[in-house]
Structures are given as C-alpha cells and as structure tokens.
Symmetry: C2
C-alpha cells in the first residue's frame, strides 16, 4: 500500500472526527512544540503503557519544554488500532504501540515485531542498530508516512496457558486457542482452531471450556490478569514470541521538520525507553513467576523436545510462505533469518550457553 | 575509604599535573558548558571506546551545545586507571571505564561490574533500573565523589583462550593464566597461577608458553587481537564475566550543579549508550565467531558439566569470602545474589529455555 492510497483511506475521517471532538491541533509557538502521542495501550498499562509514559517524560524534560509530549490512552483520541492512521495523516504527531498491529496495512510489520523461533530481545536490538533493521523498519513505516523507532521490548514471553496437555505436535490439532500473529499462523497449520478474543473474555472462555488455551504475555501481565485461576498448565518455552518490539511512530513531516537537537533527544529517548521497558519486564517477570509458582501453585510444563523440533520445522515453512506474499515482508524476513543463523551459533555458547551452565545444581548464596 | 581520604591521595598531584600540561579547566560561559571525558580506553577502541564516543555525541547534540562533551583517550589527560581520581577531584568532569578498575579504592565496584556465575546483561540492567542497583551504585560511587551511570555492557564474554585442556577443575591447578577480577580470585582458589599482563604481551606470552591461557573479552575483540594464532582452544561458557557493565562517572559537584534538562539528557544518553554498546557487541560477536570458526578453524571447547558444577560451587564460596571483607561490597553482593536466584528461575524457562529450544536441529530458512 502506497502512502497516497493510505492517506485516502478511512483514517482521514477518524482523524477529522478526533479533531472535531475538541483535540485542537497545536501550533508551534515561540519554538515550543506540543505533540500528542496516541497509544494502543490503556493509560499506564503495566510494562507496555509505561514505555509510552517514560518516552514522553524523557523528551519533555530533556528538551526543557521545547518539545512537550502528552500521552493519550487507547480510545482517548482514536481507538487503539487506528493510532498509526492518526499519526500517518498528521492528525497527531506521535504514537506508541507494537508493529504487528499494523500488519493489515503493511505485512512487513509482523516480522519487525517478533518472529516465532526468531531473535531474542538482545539480538533484535543488535539487528535494529547494527545489522540493517532500523533502515528496513524505516523503509516499511515510510509507507505509512511514519518514522520508526524501537521503543521497548517485552523480552521473552511464555508459551501460554493450557487446559489440555500438549505431548506432541498432534495435540495442537483441533485445539481451540487464542493466539495472535505469526504464532497463530503456525498453530493453524498444525490444525489448531485459532480464535481472537478481547482480553476481558479470556478467563471466562477458559473456564467454560469454550477455548482450551490462551497466549497472553508473560508472568508479570498474566499474573495481573488472573489467568492462573482458569488454566491448568503454564507452558514454556515462549516459542511464538521470543521477544516483542514496541514501536514509536512519528509523522514523517513532523519528524523531518524537527531541528537536529530535538531529533537527537527523540532518538536517545527511544533507545533509553527500549532498555527500560526490557528491564522492567525482566525484573517484574522474575518476581511474578515466583508468586505464580510459590503462592498460586501454578504447574509449569516444558514442551517435549520432539514437539519443539516439529514446531521449529513447521514454523520455518509457515514463515517462508507468509513472507513470500509481500516483497517488503520478504526483504525483512530474509534479513532477519540471515542474522538469526549467526545469532543461534553465538548464543549457543554465549548467553544461552552461560544460562544453561548457571542453572545447574550447585550450592550458591542467595 | 571516605571521600576526604580519597581527595588527599595521589590523584590531586596527577590532576594538577594534567592541568599544568595545557588542559585548562573550562568555565561556564553564557550557559554553555564544556566538559571533558577521560576514558580508560584507547580512543575509538572497538566496542568499549565507541560507547564513550556515542555518549559524548548524544549529549552534545541533544543539548544543542549547552553541554559539550569532549572525549580523551587513555593517557591523553591522565593514565587509564587514574580516570576516576581525575573526575572525583574535579580536574575533569566526566569519565568512562569499567567499575572493576576502581576495586583498589572501592571493593564494591568489582561486584557492580560483573560477577562470575552472576547476571546476564539483560538481568544486570533489570537490577540497575528496577531492583535497587542504581541506588547501590550511586551510594558506592559517592565515596569517590562521583555520580554513577551504567553506560554500556559487553554482554556475554567467552571463557578464554587455552593451550592446555581443561577436563576437570583439577586441571586449573598450576595453570598459568592471565585473568583479572573475581574470576581470577576463583581460579586462584582452584590452584591457578594468576598473572596480569598488558594486552600487547599476551600473544607472545602464549606463544612462548610462559602462560597457558588468557581471558580477554569475546570474539569481536579477541579476533582483532589475533589471539587465535597463539592458542589451541577457545573455551566456553564465559562463566567469569557473563556480562560486564561499563561506567560513566561524573564529578558529583558538576552533576549536582546541572539544570534538570541537562540531567535528563545525560541520563537518557547513558541508557541509550547502554543498549547501543550491548547491541554492537552482540552483532559483532555474531560475525566474529563465524570468522574465527569458518576462516581460522578455531576449536571451540565447552567445559564439562562436572567442571562447571565444581566451578559454580567454588565461585559461591570465593565470592562470599571476598564480599565479607567490605560492608558496602557485602551490601551489593547480597542484593545481587537475591536478584540472581529469581533470575535463574525465570531465565531457565524464558531467554535461556527459548535459546535451548531454538538451537535444536530442525530445518529453518537462513
């Protein structure tokens, strides 16, 4: 989809409505800019929403008010999934969400966000900053008239809450599961009945048995959601989404118009938020897992090696197929899988190899 | 060591000499500050030195010159290991290095830098930003009259270059090895003959057999150093330094005097540099490992499980002993090992569990 087509779409109507409803577009007065950031998150949503708050805070503080950013929760100006249209059309200047929310408009964003059996958060950042990822993401987002920044990362997620046992890949056949994105595509190919339900309906649907399993995020968000009350097993590893990038998207004209110092502030603020969100998830997941296991007696289940091998193979086939349908998605996919091959070789002896050694059973203080 | 004692030390002489040698202390003119950053790195040293360069660039650009930071390589104003004295006394405003370089002055810094069998880079950041690490580091650095920022991370390192086989922990007995820091303390306890040599002497010492092994960094720096030409085995995992924090230290008075917007710029710039350095090491190590193995036929050796178990146990004992000698080091150590226990539990099913699954043998594009 080209920018022209995009601008002629439904977004203009939505943006106009938003403007009419009292959110007047601010002017640049005496070099002081006021930007609005629309988000796909409820205000102050744990982990995800606080990334947007931090970003606004860093930019506003560092620029001493020369660029003030005000955060709006999902639905305050536009509904969550219209955020990128509101930014692309210039109705607002800035947005915060996750790239795969825009896959209907731009399939490449699904690969930018996360890839089953793909990169870890640390590797994703390495890809963005030192292996061409930023340039590819900018190329993709330019189609939506936006500048892209990686602006947070969930780091490793879990493999979902299940009420049925998974002992082999065959057990996904006929399974009713709520799982979005590329992980959902893989499970569809494995015969699962993939559904999408709003967050609030997940626990009741698990309890009544109208669905068998749910993929949400990780211990921190899942604990807050109370999913442990409605499911028997908490499955790992999180092969669907080994890490999910959050995005800060900025109207291209607004971005290009910024002076260099404000550009530097926005860039550094996004990098700062990137490490902060990843750190918050890591620290809180640590805590929440302990609560889930020690206090709520959650049963952790690791997928068998045979199941993982079969899922890995199927994932490679499904991703290749999905990527082949769109040239830009294919370009992103090719870059990612090339980087992935080297990442697997290095992580086996580096981060991965170390964590395996550290997890062995020897006495240690703490 | 208290600040008063510290200020009365040899640093004042060094700093005075530096001032006398032509590096005049800048004044604040019309709100425009000019700061000098001394570093422990040769200028533009790969990975480590570029963190300092990036930091200066972000701060200078983002502040539009209200705070200009100029980088000096090791020896340009003061020798590498006098950097923190030059900053603490106020001879210069800012420095960049690694915390364990200051262990002679402040034992706690060794634990802040890295811990054998300790935290990964991602976990270390989580500890700094969301589990009290920043506060503890600030408390420690205040003893040196400095403000602390985490300002880069090597991420996982390797386990060193060896010309002797290590098949059990007994094989460290009598081994002549160049290894700094807490890893060196552990190997001393295992009977090794731990030496320190300047970087330039490592390759000849390995070649003549005057030492048997060298711990340096990881593939990126080790390849540049050519260590593969002088050693038989490249050992993993990097249990000595699973991740090493770099530090940005700022004279406390200079820091306290900054207006809030410049403080926000410096804080965000350090967080940005933190993720950038980690990303650069991750991307370049990926590449360099491939070159070492494919082009230079380097033989990778993983320590046996029994060796790892014995090293893990010994590490716990040695670290407890080292920490017990200094109250502040003990406070940092206690905080780290508490966070480590939860990190091990979560990483086993999160990052670590995922990487183990991903590394299995199934067909995948790339």
């Amino acid at each position: 989809m080209k920018r022209r087509q995009f601008l002629s779409g439904a977004a203009v109507a939505g943006a106009t409505a938003a403007l009419a409803s009292g959110f007047a577009k601010p002017a640049i007065a005496q070099g002081a800019r006021e930007w609005r950031m629309v988000t796909t998150w409820p205000k102050n949503y744990p982990g995800l929403g606080t990334g947007a708050e931090l970003l606004a805070e860093y930019i506003t503080k560092a620029s001493e008010g020369r660029l003030t950013v005000k955060v709006f929760g999902a639905g305050e100006i536009v509904p969550a999934f219209e955020a990128i249209e509101a930014v692309g059309t210039g109705a607002v200047e800035m947005g915060h969400g996750a790239p795969y929310y825009w896959k209907g408009k731009l399939p490449a964003t699904e690969f930018i966000a996360s890839m089953p059996f793909g990169l870890t958060a640390q590797e994703q950042n390495a890809w963005f900053y030192y292996a061409g990822g930023q340039e590819l993401a900018d190329k993709a987002y330019a189609e939506l008239n936006c500048k892209f920044f990686a602006s947070g990362n969930t780091a490793a997620t879990m493999g979902g809450w299940y009420n049925k046992e998974i002992n082999s890949i065959e057990d996904f056949n006929g399974l009713k599961i709520r799982i979005p994105g590329l992980g959902g595509e893989v499970l569809k190919a494995a015969g699962a009945n993939v559904v999408n339900l709003p967050g609030g309906e997940l626990a009741p649907a698990l309890q009544t048995g109208s669905i068998d399993a749910v993929d949400w995020v990780g211990p921190y968000n899942d604990l807050a959601f109370g999913l442990y009350k409605s499911a028997k097993y908490y499955v790992n590893p999180g092969w669907y989404e080994p890490a999910t990038v959050l995005d800060n998207f900025i109207n291209l004209d607004a971005w290009n118009e910024l002076p260099d110092d404000l550009k530097a502030i926005v860039e550094a603020a996004n990098k700062a938020v990137n490490v902060m969100v990843m750190s918050e998830f890591t620290a809180r997941n640590n805590d929440a897992l302990k609560t889930l296991v020690d206090k709520h007696n959650v049963e952790l289940r690791r997928l068998s090696d045979d199941t993982i091998l079969a899922l890995g193979k199927l994932t490679g086939e499904v991703l290749s197929d999905v990527a082949s349908r769109d040239p830009l998605a294919k370009e992103v996919f090719d870059s990612l899988v090339k980087f992935r091959t080297q990442s697997v070789a290095w992580s086996k002896i580096a981060e991965g190899g170390f964590m395996q050694a550290r997890a062995m059973d020897y006495p240690f203080p703490g």
